[in-house]
Symmetry: C2
């Protein structure tokens, strides 16, 4: 996502466009690989050592609330953030704690069709995400 697009989005949501918000958003985008707050703060501190930690938490929260970022449940208990908003799954490496995005429209169709036929009793499905754990091979 471009900075201009972010500016638009913030305005749409009635959020002020501040340099901190732009920097924090770019951090999440640039870091890729689903950074934790810790990583984000680290990254930001290099070029912007005066952004306060509280601000980072507040900004990330408001981004999630407003749908500009998503939270990712990792295997161990720290929260991580994702700038990829469209529906996708995650590959988790248990040993390295790496998380990669995984998209597969065919698989989604398969699963959706399955649940269209066989509903879950007394539960309305909003979203289905696969947690695929395993090991990355090479590299």
């Amino acid at each position: 996502m471009t900075t201009d697009r972010l500016r638009e989005l913030l305005k749409e949501k009635g959020l002020k466009v501040t340099p901190q918000r732009i920097v924090i958003f770019e951090a999440v985008v640039n870091l890729k690989n689903h950074p934790a707050v810790e990583n984000i703060i680290e990254y930001i501190k290099i070029k912007h050592p005066n952004i306060s930690i509280g601000t980072v938490y507040k900004v990330l929260d408001s981004f999630v609330e407003n749908g500009l970022l998503k939270k990712v449940k990792s295997e161990n208990d720290i929260m991580r953030y994702d700038a990829v908003l469209h529906h996708h799954h995650h590959l988790y490496c248990a040993t390295t704690d790496r998380i990669e995005d995984f998209e597969d429209p065919n698989l989604d169709k398969l699963i959706n069709d399955y649940f269209r036929k066989k509903k879950i009793k007394s539960f309305n499905i909003k979203n289905i995400t696969l947690q695929i754990t395993g090991e990355f091979n090479n590299k």
Copy 2:
């Protein structure tokens, strides 16, 4: 799981059978619905007010390490524990934070077959778990 079975498992893993471990394990089993540490401590305190909190954390950790319990991450980020060890999925209610187990061998077969045909490049799948988010209807 019975207490006797727990005793066996602890011995197999080379862990000492202590009253604290038994109490903590039973708490997770009895509480069902994937208790958080908080709930477990609460529950234990009633009958065993002198078990220390540090012990609860240590015991839960060692149970997870030794495969006697599994961790589940809830919608609002807190870690919760599950005594159901066989493969199953979870229904997450975003509003009430309730987590229910969901088993469906047919679905598992469908997904496994899918990935048997279409491998993921440079990733060996160990386990696939569905995070099904939505709303419970009635009750």
